[in-house]
Amino acid sequence: MPPATGGGLAETELRPRRGRCGPQATRAADRDVAARAAARNPKRPARGSRRFETASRWALLALVTLLSFATRFHRLDEPPHICWDETHFGKMGSYYINRTFFFDVHPPLGKMLIGLAGYLSGYDGTFLFQKPGDKYEHHSYMGMRGFCAFLGSWLVPFAYLTVLDLSKSLSAALLTAALLTFDTGCLTLSQYILLDPILMFFIMAAMLSMVKYNSCVDRPFSAPWWFWLSLTGVSLAGALGVKFVGLFIILQVGLNTIADLWYLFGDLSLSLVTVGKHLTARVLCLIVLPLALYTATFAVHFMVLSKSGPGDGFFSSAFQARLSGNNLHNASIPEHLAYGSVITVKNLQMAIGYLHSHRHLYPEGIGARQQQVTTYLHKDYNNLWIIKKHNTNSDPLDPSFPVEFVRHGDIIRLEHKETSRNLHSHYHEAPLTRKHYQVTGYGINGTGDSNDFWRIEVVNRKFGNRIKVLRSRIRLIHLVTGCVLGSSGKVLPKWGWEQLEVTCTPYLKETLNSIWNVEDHINPKLPNISLNVLQPSFPEILLESHMVMIWGNNGLKPKDNEFTSKPWHWPINYQGLRFSGVNDTDFRVYLLGNPVVWWLNLLSIALYLLSGSIIAIAMQRGTRVPAEVAGLSQVLLRGGGQVLLGWMLHYFPFFLMGRVLYFHHYFPAMLFSSMLTGILWDTLLRLCAWGLASWPLARGIHVAGILSLLLGTAYRLFALEPDLLPLFQYNYRQFSSPEDCLSSPEFLDHIRKVMLVIDAAVTNVEDLSSLEEYLVSLGRKHRTVGVKLSSFSVGKGALPLSRAPDLGPLLSPRSPLATHYLSSIPISLDNQSCICPAVWPRHALDLSELPSFLV
């Protein structure tokens, strides 16, 4: 499918390649460059051949681009179901189309572009993107995939041009392009609705425009210079707008700029005013411009997502008031808190949620066995509390009483509306944070004990003031123990429904975890006021959404006993990522790098460090070398050094990260290391050829070496697939006929096991309803792995008892009874094809009707 959508940006970025900056730089007046160029081409080509050379360069670039596009777009529509993280990013694209607010740990640009691509290609946002493996069916997904593949395809030409500019060598650039074109990992990662192709596109665009702009250094303030400089800034904003990994490329460009400015500053022929101009230009293009664009993406994000959605609870009350459909939007509620009000209490710390309780007790052995109190991110009637006086139990909503406002410093009681239990704390240790006290729901119908009394305080206010809804930051201090109500932010185990722990902390330090505000407020006796004053300003929303994103990123911690990917796994291609094929599909996609490419890259890094340090030491010792070698070592140290820095910046920080890491995080670094490989091998082979200059084959070495590397990478791409197959082998086989299927050993084995299980269940059955439930669940399980009801008619009588002789003695006499009972439950049928071995014959054994329940 043609990349019909969303490519506008990319095309405008590429057009300037036809500008004259790049090719001219080789002919620049800069002595250094000129010397290098001279070293490369000792015999200057004649004018005619130069024209031919230019043409061939263009042809090569076109070839590389074409090849890249061809590989990325080949069979793009397969598999026609959700693969891996498409379930997230596709869903977020739909959110943009539906304009519902959501929360994600990454900045919005990438998902916005996906949403835009979907919108332009006619996707209507109705697909649910529930879980990997769900079929797209009639929904249009090719627009989004095509957009990602389109951006992913540009990586190869970008890398080609970058290396060409850094090394001034066609063969190095070709080698890099080949590595990336034939790398299976890059290929796979570019084909799906993911953020990575978008991120890598911006990273490579930033790198390319930085390199281009560096080569314009001899003509400052010219048009191409400005163009590349501002393009760098735009790409940086793009990279950061997609994922925070973009910070690494910003760091690289920043270091490059500092070095550049340092050089200019030391150039005494430039006046301070000129240096100041340079500085201002960079500040404008590399700081102000990206920041403005980045903020703009957020502005668009907030503007587009104007409806309440699944992400509301992560944000503060003020933030939620912006979203239409949220109950705080255009809300009018009583302003001051009074006794008898029904309220929800929200923690001020990001993503902790509302104070919550439910009809479940803390389990045995965890503090006192009283009702659980937790915090919960979603809105729920269990979040409602009634605020009451500590000493009377009379109903304050009785119209005969006057309204009494709650004041700073009052002693109150909070009664859970649904269960009528009081918020309670005592000297028992909290379930997870052992040094804090447990908080429970206690008492019957609001009658408890003195441990239910809390002093309500407003932060930074005087005693006696009224408490304002939403705006007052309150603390609840337990009267008896003197501790402060807070949430530790830790997730409770299953018994607590994985909600967050609430504790009473004896440490009185003011942290956001122990400060709350009142969000909903219902009191029929008070007049409502409008809360439009609450609308936060744009900088406030921006700041808050960043805090929530950072919090969310930190929250992605790996659990113990889980296989997690470690950074050292990545460069050695230790383990890939399963994109698709967990379920019953036969279409399996596995993200794994091409081992030839990756191990060559690894070897190249080691070799580069070795050769680089040898050259550096030799230069430091003042060794004299011929101009040609000096030129080559300059390429190696400067060009290679820049790319190596990129690799390090995109790889090493992951070692410091505590969050869950995945294999695909390595791909930006992998792009850089492929560029390094290109530069290194080309330079080394040239050095080799130069060293053997007397030997007739000297030139051949370079050509032969490059060719063999190219062929090596290409060869393995196609040889690789059979090797990968065992990775995906599960116990499934596709059979040609039902008879084949029924007589296969896998099938017999499976039947035996199911029968044994059923038999065990039947012999030990205590009450029939539990057995029924059990069998139905067994049936459901079969269904999830793809057994179809119609399969049962296929195997009619196909499995006589003699085929499974070992079953006979194991079946107990009670089985027919049970099955008879079970046969009375009605079922519905649908007609689908059979996948073996999980089929079931209708008349197997004497349990003739049993299979019905297994489906």
Partner: protein, 725 residues
């Protein structure tokens, strides 16, 4: 007569008197009333128990740092004749008479005292004036936080001592380099740098930061040396080699030596055994060694074994089964196979015994000759007490539904083709035909039918599983993880075929014959690895703080409170020194940037040698501060104010240097210089005054009234304890 009077002063006052006086004052401030308070103060409760372990030669594991620091403290106990009999259970407990408090606290106090003259010498070696040097030493002397930390049985003062020693000896070496390379003193100081670095690392991992700094500085100097074309290639190579040996090889060897001594000293089994592998435990006297001594080494068909999970998280446990079956239906409505449960059990139990059976033979006893099990062999594991074999199948496991359930099923002697074949994989094998060894081999069991691996999932089963740990079969393709690895702990050859006899045999204790030992490197690497990966719960502490609060001293730690009076000890710095230290650092950075930019434009404000000195002082002092402070922002563990003290010492070194620089280079006239000196004197006397005011909280020797205490609470965030009467 005047000349006579003058002469001795001229001869000796040069360095020695300064040094002697500073050392004397340092000793006085740190050693004065060292045994007071005669009670456990703050972290003494933590280090004290390790000293007791050393005295009793009991093995322990502490993840807070390498063992050298603990050994230094234990040395004090050893010199004082401590027998280790004291229960370190709470802060404030009175020491019993057998605890030699003075000698236990002596070594940290000495280290703290010697840091004072060392600061003096460092500034001198940086080629700044005596005045600045004395200033640096005097600041170290009156810094309350340093005094408090040195006078107790804690490690920071020792760490600071070695940090400073490393800097000092490198500077001495660097100064020798110019005059007499390869001389005796050159070698001495070079080696001492390496030794001091490795001691610093050996006390706390934090020492690595200073070590890295020294390596970087040495590398930069070496790089200049490479560029020096007056030296021959051979000579340059010799220089590089000497540095590599002294700064890389010697520290590594010393570090190993610390562990060697540590492991030699602690040869008895103790409370932390369970964390270590079976092989390690077996190398300790008592404990597992008592049980496993004399076990046969090679596991054969017919062996009876207990299998321990190598991963040991959340608790170390053994593969276990019992007669109870999985519930037919779980709470969430899923069904199970209703077969016999297989779990991981953290206690020794007769139900932990399994018999390795040859699938082709019927017997459960060893044959003669023995047929050892090798890598790749098929085995069946038969549960000793119930005689059912271990099995896994395509049924969802109870707690981790993505994995397969593991159960015990079918009595071993029923001849039915069941799914109970396992392929043995020895993970740490050297050859593909290696024999399965007790304790030493780490093995995986790969299920033949479903190619899944026996794994400890880490989840606890609910009540029906007696809260034991869940065992699952995990797909092999998910990759390698330690929780799939097991080793044989207890082992004997089975001899009884009858079930009844076998039960009796399993219940009887194991027989005993010879012992096995693990090599030092194996023990070292295991211990080091466990120390690095061990995660103690990140417990919140009342006095924990964040790095941002340290620079401005917004926090303190209450170390001790007298049981009756309100005498108390706090870790509380001299706020004048802390603030002016941070200020000096800022001034240094600004000046440095200013000079650097101007030099780039070819304006040389400082003469070349002054500039080089200025750079070197920045690299060592500002750099030392940065490397000892900034990494804390990346750490996720609980942090305390005392973590800042090493960084603070570097700031204190920088402070007089900056003052001297201002006086020398920025004060234009004599008048300005005099005014500046007067200001410095006034500032210093205010620091002395503050130090003196805070003295009761430093030494804890004087009980102040509540009003006085309130008056000392200069910052709201300071936590000073006031008794309510």
């Amino acid at each position: 007569m005047w000349g006579f009077l003058k002469r001795p002063v001229v001869v000796t006052a040069d360095i020695n008197l300064h040094l002697v006086a500073l050392t004397g004052m340092g000793l006085l401030s740190r050693l004065w009333q060292l045994t007071y308070p005669r009670a456990v103060v703050f972290d003494e409760v933590y280090y004290g128990q390790y000293i007791s372990f050393y005295m009793k030669r009991i093995f322990f594991l502490d993840d807070s740092g390498p063992p050298f620091g603990h050994m230094v403290l234990a040395l004090g106990g050893y010199l004082g004749g401590f027998d280790g009999n004291f229960l370190w259970n709470r802060i404030g407990a009175e020491y019993s008479s057998n605890v030699p408090v003075w000698s236990l606290r002596l070594l940290p106090a000495l280290a703290g005292a010697l840091s004072v003259p060392m600061a003096y010498q460092i500034v001198l070696e940086l080629h700044f004036s005596h005045c600045a040097a004395v200033g640096a030493a005097l600041l170290m002397l009156i810094e309350n936080a340093l005094i408090t930390q040195s006078r107790l049985m804690l490690l920071e003062s020792v760490l600071i001592f070695f940090n400073l020693l490393a800097v000092l000896s490198y500077l001495k070496f660097f100064n020798c380099q110019k005059q007499s390379p390869f001389s005796l003193s050159w070698w001495f100081w070079l080696t001492l740098t390496g030794v001091a670095c490795s001691c610093a690392v050996g006390i706390k991992y934090m020492g690595v930061f200073t070590y890295m700094l020294m390596l970087v500085v040495a590398a930069v100097h070496a790089w200049h040396l490479i560029g020096d074309q007056t030296l021959s290639n051979v000579r340059v190579f010799c220089h590089l080699l000497a540095r590599a040996v002294a700064l890389l090889v010697i520290p590594a060897v010393l570090y190993l030596l610390f562990f060697y001594v540590h492991l030699i000293l602690l040869f008895r089994s103790g409370p932390h055994d369970q964390i270590m592998s079976s092989a390690f435990q077996a190398s300790l006297e008592g404990g597992l060694a008592r049980i496993t001594q004399g076990q046969p080494l090679e596991v054969a068909f017919g062996s009876q074994v207990t299998l321990r999970s190598v991963f040991g998280k959340p608790v170390p446990c053994w593969l276990h089964s019992h007669q109870n079956t999985y519930p037919m239906i779980y709470e969430n409505g899923r069904g199970s196979s209703h077969q016999q449960q297989v779990t991981c059990y953290p206690f020794k139990d007769v139900n932990n015994w399994w018999i390795v059976k040859d699938p082709r033979r019927h017997q459960l006893v060893v044959s003669s000759p023995l047929r050892p099990v090798r890598h790749g062999d098929m085995v069946q594991l038969v549960h000793g007490m119930t005689a059912r074999s271990l099995n896994t199948h395509d049924v969802a496991a109870p707690m981790s539904p993505h994995s397969q359930e593991v159960s015990c099923y079918i009595d071993y002697n029923i001849s039915m083709p069941a799914q109970n074949l396992w392929r043995l994989e020895i993970v740490n094998r050297r050859s593909d035909t290696e024999v399965w060894k007790t304790i030493l081999s780490e093995v995986r069991f790969v299920h033949v039918n479903t190619s899944s691996v026996l794994k400890l999932s880490g989840a606890h089963l609910p009540d029906w599983g007696f809260r034991q740990l869940e065992i699952v079969g995990e797909k092999l393709s998910r990759g390698y993880h330690e929780s799939t690895v097991w080793n044989v702990e207890e082992h004997r050859y089975g001899t009884s075929q009858e079930q009844r006899e076998r039960e009796w045999e399993l219940n009887s204790p194991v027989q005993v014959d010879a012992s096995r030992n693990l090599s030092f490197m194996a023990r070292f690497s295991e211990l080091q690895w466990r120390m690095l990966v061990l995660r103690s719960d990140d417990s919140e502490h009342k006095y924990s703080s964040s790095p941002l609060e340290w620079v401005t001293l917004d926090t303190n730690i209450a170390y001790w409170l007298h049981p009756r009076t309100s005498a108390q000890i706090h870790l509380l710095g001299n706020i004048v020194i802390w603030v002016s230290g941070s200020l000096a650092l800022a001034i240094y950075m600004l000046l440095f940037l200013w000079y650097l930019l101007r030099r780039r434009r070819n304006v040389h404000d400082l003469p070349q040698d002054a500039w080089l000195r200025w750079v070197l002082v920045g690299a060592l002092c500002a750099g030392g501060w940065a490397v000892n402070y900034l990494p804390f922002f990346l750490m996720e563990k609980t942090l305390f104010l005392y973590h800042y003290l090493p960084a603070l010492t570097f700031q204190i070194l920088l402070l007089p240097v900056v003052l001297q620089h201002i006086s020398d280079h920025l004060c234009r006239s004599q008048l300005q210089r005099s005014v500046f000196s007067a200001l410095v004197v006034a500032w210093y006397s205010s620091a002395c005054h503050v130090s003196n005011t805070l003295r009761p909280l430093t030494y804890g020797d004087k009980s102040l009234s509540p009003e006085e205490l309130k008056a000392l609470r200069w910052k709201d965030s300071w936590d000073i304890l006031i008794r309510k009467h």
